[in-house]
Structures are given as structure tokens and as C-alpha cells.
């Protein structure tokens, strides 16, 4: 049997949040919420795991700092000794203050780009990829809550859709997915 899925559509972020809270209180498991912008406070309600993007960001940042230090040291002290700021001591550590801005910028560069690309890869976002959201309007002004009956075996499909209809939805769509 093909899986069925319920898409409940709302037109306000707070109503989406309240409806999600109501459903979760009833014991319904919500598969996902689609929204044009982040809804603050919805993650713990629908039980999304905490993102690990921060850890990735930290690793990219450390890589950036290291790369900057290695490159600066090679260019300024190994390959060609430079007299920096009138202090010809030719030692990386003693000239460190003058490289802090570069190291900082390179850290930020690596962290930001690494984080963005990790995000794209993890979510399968490449040019020409098909859209994953159920309705194009979720990129504009609509909020969609996705409920899969197979996650909620304790309820029948009719019960689920009847309960969803008690929340302030603007539209409901029941789809068969392959």
C-alpha cells in the first residue's frame, strides 16, 4: 500500500505553532513543518534534533585559523623573511599581533563558506534539483504541517484528518505518495 500523507496549511506562524503544540499534546507525531522563514520555538515542539551545524562551523573555523597561520608563517618567515612593522625579529610568534586580523578573517571565511556548503550538501540543494516542499506557497506566505499516518498508527487516517481540521487551517491536502 502506498503511503498517505496529510498536509495541513496555515497562514500564520503563531497559529502553526499553536496547532503543532495541540497536535503533539494529542500524541500525534509531526513529520515536518514547511515555512518561508524560521518559526522561533517550533523546534522543541515538533521534536527536531538540535542541529550539528555549530560543530561543523567550529571545525571549519579551526581549519581556517590553521591554514592562515601556516600560510603566513611560510610566506613571511620561511620562504622570504620580512621585516614587519620595523621589528626584524623574524619570528612568527613575536609578530603575531599583526596577523590576528588576517587569521580572524580567514577563520570567518572558512567557517561561513564551509557552513553554507555543508548545509547545501546535507539538504541536497544544488542547481536544478527538484523542490522538496509540498507546495510552492510555503516559500511565500503559507505554513504547512506534514503528518504521516505511518508514524501515528494509534490513530486511523480519518481520525487524524478530523483532528487536523479542528485547528485553524486554511487548506488541507491528503496525498498518496509513492
Amino acid at each position: 500500500m502506498a503511503d498517505k500523507v496529510i498536509y495541513a496549511m496555515y497562514d500564520d506562524d503563531d497559529e502553526t505553532k499553536d496547532a503543532a503544540q495541540k497536535m503533539v499534546d494529542k500524541g500525534i507525531h509531526i513529520a515536518d513543518v514547511f515555512s518561508p522563514f524560521p518559526i522561533h520555538g517550533i523546534d522543541p515542539i515538533i521534536g527536531i534534533k538540535e542541529t550539528r551545524l555549530g560543530i561543523v562551523s567550529f571545525m571549519f573555523a579551526i581549519t581556517g585559523t590553521m591554514l592562515a597561520m601556516i600560510t603566513i608563517r611560510y610566506m613571511m618567515f620561511v620562504d622570504w623573511n620580512m621585516n614587519i612593522g620595523g621589528k626584524p625579529n623574524f619570528a612568527f610568534l613575536e609578530n603575531m599581533p599583526s596577523f590576528i586580523p588576517i587569521m580572524f578573517e580567514f577563520t570567518v571565511l572558512c567557517a561561513a563558506h564551509g557552513m553554507a556548503f555543508t548545509y547545501f550538501v546535507r539538504n541536497g540543494l544544488f542547481p536544478g534539483m527538484p523542490a522538496h516542499n509540498p507546495d510552492p506557497r510555503t516559500t511565500d506566505d503559507r505554513f504547512v504541517v506534514e503528518i504521516r499516518p505511518e508514524d501515528n498508527n494509534q490513530f486511523s487516517f480519518e481520525e487524524l484528518s478530523a483532528f487536523v481540521k479542528t485547528t485553524p487551517i486554511v487548506e488541507i491536502e491528503e496525498k498518496v505518495i509513492q
Partner: protein, 497 residues
């Protein structure tokens, strides 16, 4: 929602102030005037002293040194050198002679037998002098005035930071922080403490009781071309005009915001809010100018030859940060007493985010100022850091390291910003750290290498802290804790993320 300062809080804060006063007085009368000892070789030491002391005090000190060394098994032989010429060779820059200069020769006492195990008597004398065992007691006022300036400016800055943030909330029409605004107002109400103390320091400086501001002395202006060049800005008339304008503006706005929000409590409506919105924008413009020039006038002009264009921002970031720390501490205290039940974890998280961000702003500006001067390496600029690094090295870099690294390591995590225990511990350390930042702005310019940190410093800080918190809690009790007629009150109540 009415808050009244509890008897316990009253006792604790006023008790702190009284304790601070006692410590300060003890510290004041036990100040040490150090003598300087230099080890020449194993058997001879040069001891000199440049301060004030009469003959009997000097003899007393000499007797004490002899008996101290007798216990260690040495006999001392004093050669007093009074010759001006001999001295001028050694100290080209000094034109006066020291109060005394002893060339001490050490010899072992008969039958003691200490020399056998490599004890260094010359080093022992140096240690005695450096530890302050051999020193004069001198209740001189310089340290007192410097401390008064440090604490006056630090606590004035806390109030000013809170007032600035209050105006920022109105000018940006922020909704989330409305439930906290009364705390900002109350902290801004404690501004007169700092102002009175600062004015006291300025007046005594103007009458020549201390020389913190060397440009106030006409003789220095005559003698010093660089000061003379700056006398168009740094002269007493213009300075006092500026002081009156700064303090007048700040006090006016602190009281005006208070008055208007009280009026809003009674009348409601949005008219008062828009009035405050416009006035807050005006205040921010004035503050932008005054906070910079104020830091030049009060702090940067101590080192009158030195200047840094970043200084105003650097001082301002410290002021703002300490203001935020004070706010979160007062909020934490009130919540622990069962008040401010509308303040939830999200509000606390937001204020803690400010503590995190402002620590970075401060570290960024501190380092930028340091790096630019270090890099360009010009004598008239590096003198500022030379003094700090030569005489205050560990304190200076520990202060910077803690104020930078602690918020960086801990406050980066979301849960830490929501945990009171972390906020209180790190907040307290950075609060004290920023007191040391102000200490480091003032002391190297006033006491140079003759600084010390003792009961006088601790006592005066505790005195000010007690009095300041008492004033804040007292003025919190004069108005309801919630601005229920604020247009964004409802939004703030539901602040959640």
C-alpha cells in the same frame, strides 16, 4: 508588582558599604612607601629612598633592617652617600637627590655559620624591601584620589550604560525588553553617586590637591609645549563647561525618561511613547558625541601627551558591558526574591547575548587599539603600553585574557546563556575584570610604577558597590516593576524563542 527593598538587602548593601569604608580607612593609613634596593654583589646592596621621611623615621627603619638581618645572621655596615655629583651620574634624569642612599656592606656574624649553605644576604635585603617589610608608612593622598577616580568613573559608567541602553530600547522601539526597562531606569537613577565623586575629583584637581590632570596646572602648560598646544581644548574654562553639559544632559535624560514612563503608567496611550521615541533618538546623538569626548576628558587626559582615536569607543564598550552585567545581576536578585515573574528565560538569554557580544566588542577595540600602536611602533604612542606592560604586566594581560576568553568559551553555548549559575559566575568575574580595566586606564598614568593593590582599593570598591546597589534597589521601590501601559508590554510578556 510593587517592590520594596527588604530589610535584609538594606542590611547587606549598607553593611558592605560600611565594611568597605572601614577597609578603605585601614588601607589608607597602612599605605607603604617603598624603598628601592639593588643587589650589587653578594656582600653589598644599594638602598635608596625618594619619598618623604624625617630623621627619626629613617633611623627607625635602619634599626629595623639591622635587627631583621641580625636574625638571619648578618651584620650590616652602612655607608651613607649624600653627594649630589656622585648621584647625578647614576640618575641622569633626576635632578634632586634622594632622601637617603645607603651603600650597605654585609658581613657574617661571629659564630653563626650561615654562610656555609649559600644563603645570599644581599638578596635577602632586596626581598625585604620588595615585600614591603622594610618600608615607610605614608598616608599620602595620591592613591586615594586615583581610586576615587577609578570607582567614580566605573560606577558612573554603569549608570550611563544602562541609560544608553534604555534610550536604545526606545529609539529602536524594541518590544522584547519592556519587562526589564524599570531595572535600567533604576540603575540610571544611581548616576548621581558617580557624578558627585567625579566632580569631587575634578574640583580637587582644579585646586591642585592632586596632579592627576597635569594640564590643569598652569605651570605645566607653560613648561610643556605639547600641553600648551592642546590648551585650546584642555583648559579649565572649557573643561568645566563640558563637564556641566555632560552631566546636565545625562541627568536630565535619566530623570526625564523616568518621569515620562511614570506618566505613561498613569495615563496610557501611545502619545508619551512616541515622545520618548523621539527624545531617545536625540539622546543617542548626544551620547555618541559626549561618550567619546567624555572619555578623552576624564580618562585619556591623564596621559596628556598620548592620544588614541579609538579610546572613546573602547571606553564606551566597557561602560555598556558593565551596565548590562549590572542589569542581569539585579534581575537575577529580583527573580530570586520572587519578583519579575514575567521575565522568562528568553529575556535572560537575550541579555546574556548582549554580555557575550559586548565582551567581544570590548576585546576587539582593546586589541585594535593595542595592535595599531604596537604595529606602527612610534615612541609617543607606545609609551602608553610600555608603562602598562613594564609595571602591570601580569595584571594587565590577565585582565584582558579573562575578559575576552571567559565569555568566548562559555557564553557561546545556548544553554549557558540560560543558566543562572554560569551567568552569575562569569558575570561577576568579568565585572571585576572590567573594574581592573578602569584601574589600568587610570593607575599607570597617575601612580606609574608606585602602584599597589591593597585594602584601600578593595575597600573603596566594596564601599561603592554597596552604596550603588543600595541606591538602585531603593529607586526600584519607587515605581511599579512593570510598565503595564507600555505599547509593547504585551509583546514582551510573550517573548519566547
Amino acid at each position: 508588582m510593587e517592590y520594596q527593598i527588604s530589610d535584609k538587602a538594606k542590611k547587606v548593601t549598607l553593611g558592605l558599604a560600611a565594611l568597605g569604608l572601614v577597609l578603605m580607612i585601614i588601607g589608607f593609613f597602612s599605605q607603604k612607601e617603598y624603598v628601592f634596593a639593588e643587589r650589587l654583589d653578594e656582600h653589598s646592596v644599594k638602598v635608596e629612598y625618594w619619598g618623604k621621611a624625617d630623621e627619626s623615621q629613617i633611623d627607625g627603619l635602619k634599626a629595623k633592617l639591622i635587627s631583621e638581618m641580625e636574625n638571619k645572621g648578618y651584620a650590616l655596615d652602612f655607608h651613607e652617600a649624600h653627594s649630589h655629583d656622585e648621584h647625578a651620574e647614576g640618575h641622569g634624569t633626576h635632578h634632586e637627590s634622594p632622601t637617603f642612599l645607603w651603600n650597605i656592606h654585609l658581613s657574617h656574624l661571629e659564630g653563626e655559620g650561615h654562610g656555609g649553605h649559600g644563603a645570599d644576604g644581599a638578596q635577602a635585603i632586596v626581598d625585604l624591601c620588595e615585600s614591603g617589610t622594610i618600608s615607610f608608612f605614608d598616608s599620602h593622598w595620591r592613591r586615594f584620589w586615583s581610586n576615587l577616580l577609578i570607582n567614580g568613573f566605573f560606577f558612573f559608567g554603569i549608570s550611563l550604560g544602562a541609560l544608553f541602553y534604555l534610550a536604545l530600547q526606545y529609539a529602536t522601539e524594541s518590544g522584547w525588553g519592556v519587562v526589564l526597562l524599570r531595572v535600567y531606569e533604576a540603575i540610571a537613577q544611581a548616576m548621581p553617586i558617580g557624578i558627585i565623586v567625579l566632580v569631587l575629583v575634578f574640583i580637587t584637581g582644579a585646586f591642585g590637591l592632586h596632579s592627576i590632570y597635569s594640564w590643569m596646572d598652569p605651570a605645566n602648560v607653560e613648561a610643556d609645549h605639547l600641553i600648551w598646544k592642546k590648551s585650546g581644548y584642555f583648559n579649565q574654562g572649557f573643561f568645566w563647561l563640558r563637564v556641566i553639559v555632560y552631566f546636565g544632559t545625562f541627568l536630565f535624560f535619566a530623570n526625564w525618561f523616568r518621569k515620562m514612563s511614570r506618566k505613561e503608567d498613569n495615563e496610557g496611550g501611545t502619545e508619551i511613547h512616541f515622545k520618548m521615541y523621539r527624545k531617545a533618538a536625540l539622546f543617542l546623538v548626544l551620547f555618541a558625541v559626549f561618550s567619546s569626548t567624555m572619555s578623552w576628558d576624564f580618562i585619556m587626559s591623564i596621559d596628556i601627551h598620548w592620544y588614541s582615536t579609538l579610546f572613546g569607543w573602547y571606553t564606551f564598550s566597557g561602560i555598556w558591558l558593565t551596565g548590562m552585567i549590572m542589569v542581569i545581576m539585579i534581575v537575577g536578585y529580583l527573580k530570586s526574591q520572587g519578583y519579575l515573574e514575567l521575565v522568562n528565560k528568553s529575556h535572560i538569554h537575550d541579555v546574556a547575548k548582549w554580555m557575550f557580544a559586548l565582551s567581544f566588542l570590548w576585546s576587539y577595540l582593546w586589541f585594535s587599539q593595542f595592535m595599531l600602536i604596537w604595529y606602527s611602533n612610534m615612541g609617543e604612542e607606545t609609551i602608553y603600553y610600555w608603562e602598562r606592560i613594564m609595571e602591570y604586566k601580569y595584571l594587565y594581560f590577565t585582565m584582558f585574557g579573562l575578559n575576552f576568553a571567559l565569555p568566548l568559551i562559555f557564553f557561546i553555548a545556548r544553554d549557558v546563556k540560560r543558566s543562572w549559575s554560569f551567568i552569575i559566575v562569569i558575570g561577576t568575574i568579568t565585572f571585576i575584570g572590567h573594574w581592573f580595566d578602569v584601574f589600568m586606564m587610570v593607575m599607570p598614568g597617575t601612580l606609574h610604577d608606585e602602584w599597589s593593590f591593597g585594602l584601600l582599593e578593595i575597600g573603596m570598591f566594596v564601599l561603592f558597590l554597596g552604596a550603588f546597589v543600595y541606591t538602585v534597589l531603593k529607586s526600584l521601590g519607587k515605581a511599579p516593576l512593570m510598565q503595564e501601559n507600555h505599547p509593547f508590554f504585551e509583546e514582551s510578556k510573550h517573548h519566547h524563542f
